[in-house]
């Protein structure tokens, strides 16, 4: 099967000045809103459930069922929080929406707020994206001035919507939804303990839903064209499309919207243009740094959807593929990534705070030639000790990537031993 591009979220990305309201309107922005207000909020949620839309932030949880976790409407305010933290190494997709089609995100916020009964939305964006924050704020100002949001939607629908951009301060963990809420609430971004049963999130003890930016930007198309317009793409369990990002030494790195289910090697060769400068593919980290690494042989068998990736022992994550060429030491790759995780551990849980630092020191020791087989066993042991014993999935992510590198490329670690 050849890799194919389908433009739903990205359909305005190539249009000059598409971030401006005037241009966006000419190309269909806000056309879903009239239909939205002919529907009951629960019907919007049902349509999104039927579309099978899955969260694009890494976890892949179904969006519609998540909305249904909101309690019945009462006197409390309720919130939609858009997760634009996007700090996973290898992931740079949401910035395309901020840069090229911020009005699509605003339109998605209107649709999603209406479905869950919220009138206020906060968009949390990583602090480093200053340019994109300014771009988005300009679009929000335009939308207020045009009466698209504010006291009424589109100047005629009696449904107030307010949108505020909240700039992060530089902390990877704030991409975790509960840490993100803690961060907006003016605290350190420490993830919260998960409740026993499924429930919504709580923002200052008020009901809230947290969705990834791309997920929200996918909603207007479903509202406007019906769920069938979405399910005709992708696979049965992963319908629709995703913004896949590709980085590393391929000829055409970038962000491409594709249906789920493409063969990874076709995507790398046909969309990414193949390897640069005659380099040979060695490995791929498939969906951001948290996903177990795939060898070149495994890449040949990999398909880009959640279930297929689980079947071959990895995860789709955010769809941010990092391409690693032959000639790169996997010990260096592991060192680079564990430095990242050590730096970004929020420090709340001892196994994660200490474990990441411990693995970092051992890999440093291996790189210095002082490592031993026992050290590699210690790395694997620390990985398992961290796994499942912390508040959030940061530590399991460290386990997934580090263990997979040590196991699949053990010979490269052993080749560093001098004694």
């Amino acid at each position: 099967m050849a890799a194919d591009i389908v433009k739903i979220v990205s359909k305005k990305f190539d249009i000059p000045d598409s971030h401006k309201l005037e241009v966006a309107l000419k190309h269909g922005a806000y056309e879903s809103i009239d239909k939205l207000f002919t529907m009951k909020p629960e019907d919007v949620t049902e349509e999104v459930c039927k579309s099978g839309l899955r969260g694009k932030g890494g976890g892949g949880a179904a969006c519609g069922p998540k909305w249904k976790l909101m309690p019945p409407i009462d006197e409390r305010p309720r919130y939609l929080i858009c997760n634009g933290d996007e700090s996973e190494p290898g992931t740079f997709k949401d910035r395309q929406i901020f840069q090229y089609d911020p009005h699509l995100l605003i339109e998605g916020i209107i649709c999603s707020c209406y479905a869950i009964g919220a009138h206020e939305s906060f968009i949390y964006i990583r602090g480093e994206y200053k340019f994109f924050i300014d771009q988005l704020n300009n679009a929000i100002d335009e939308a207020y001035e045009a009466g698209i949001i504010g006291k009424k939607v589109m100047g005629k629908y009696d449904y107030p919507i307010d949108i505020t951009v909240h700039r992060g301060g530089g902390a990877y963990i704030c991409g975790e939804k509960s840490a993100l809420i803690e961060s907006i609430e003016g605290k350190r971004g420490h993830p919260r303990l998960k409740p026993h049963g499924k429930e919504c999130e709580w923002f200052y003890d008020m009901p809230a839903t947290v969705n990834n930016v791309e997920t929200i930007a996918s909603v207007p198309n479903i509202v406007q064209n019906g769920y069938e317009s979405y399910t005709k793409y992708g696979t049965e369990k992963a319908p629709g499309t995703m913004l896949f990002a590709m980085s590393g030494p391929v000829k055409n790195p970038g962000v491409y919207e594709m249906p789920y289910g493409n063969k990874m090697i076709d995507v790398i060769n046909e969309i990414g243009g193949g390897m640069k400068d005659g380099l040979k593919l060695k490995a791929v980290i498939p969906g951001g740094a948290s996903c177990p690494i795939l060898t070149a042989e495994e890449v040949e068998k990999a398909y880009l959807d959640y279930e297929s990736m689980w079947d071959i022992g990895s995860t789709l994550g955010t769809g941010g593929m990092m391409i690693i060429p032959e000639g790169v030491s996997m010990v260096d790759v592991a060192k680079n990534l564990i430095e990242f995780y050590h730096h970004e551990s929020c420090g709340q849980c001892t196994p994660c705070r200490e474990g990441t630092g411990w693995i970092d020191k051992i890999i440093e020791k291996v790189l210095n030639g002082d490592g031993s087989t026992a050290d590699l066993e210690t790395i694997l042991d620390v990985c398992e000790t961290m796994n499942g014993k912390t508040v959030c999935v940061f530590a399991p992510a460290v386990k997934d990537i580090i263990k997979s590198i040590v196991q699949k490329y053990r010979h490269e670690f052993e080749a560093q031993f001098k004694n």
């Binding site: 305010p77 996007e86 700090s87 996973e88 190494p89 290898g90 992931t91 740079f92 910035r95 990583r126 602090g127 480093e128 994206y129 200053k130 340019f131 307010d162 505020t164 909240h166 700039r167 992060g168 301060g169 530089g170 902390a171 990877y172 961060s183 907006i184 609430e185 003016g186 605290k187 350190r188 971004g189 923002f203 200052y204 008020m206 990002a245 590709m246 980085s247 590393g248 030494p249 790195p253 970038g254 962000v255 980290i285 740094a289 941010g320 990092m322 690693i324 060429p325 790169v328 260096d332 790759v333 680079n336 990534l337 430095e339 990242f340 730096h343 970004e344 929020c346």
Partner: protein, 158 residues
């Protein structure tokens, strides 16, 4: 009592943003950003100011500001070079850029040049992996860098 104060413009901005949130606590990040935009860094004195404003203790503001990596806790000079070091940038040449900065400006990560013009931070992923290697210069992204391109950027810093 803090000697720090927002300028009139920043104070107005603070009041405008504060209205958007259900509680004043949510102003921690915006308040510190306003400080850093005004001064270039967040001094202990400014932390006391923010604490007073948000009904917090200074230590609460300090522990918050030190958790997030983007707040400068000392003055950093005119041009802040943030060099991404994470995997895609490492694979595409970030180590060569770091070496070039050391050779030309004479600074390592965490250091400010003697003339106070440049400060170098080696940072984790900036979400620019498709344009690796990259730097942010005073928050502006420069992607797909080579040593020659970086040289031009640095020479353009007056």
């Amino acid at each position: 009592m803090s000697k720090f104060k927002y300028t009139e413009e920043k104070e107005q901005e603070f009041q405008r943003i504060a209205k958007k949130y259900p509680k004043i606590d949510a102003m921690m990040l915006p308040a510190l950003w306003l400080v850093q935009e005004q001064e270039g860094w967040v001094s202990p004195d400014a932390m006391i100011f923010v604490a007073d404003k948000l009904n917090k203790t200074p230590i609460e503001v300090y522990e918050f500001a030190t958790f997030y990596t983007m707040f400068n806790l000392k003055p950093i000079g005119t041009y802040h070079i943030e060099l991404c070091k994470t995997l895609s940038c490492m694979l595409m040449g970030a180590p060569e850029l770091k070496k070039f900065i050391k050779e030309t400006i004479g600074i390592e990560p965490g250091q400010t040049s003697e003339d106070g013009r440049f400060h170098l931070s080696e940072v984790e992923c900036q979400g620019a992996c498709g344009g690796a290697p990259m730097i942010a210069l005073n928050h502006t992204y420069h992607e797909n860098l080579t040593v020659d391109k970086l040289k031009n950027i640095i020479e353009g810093c007056k």
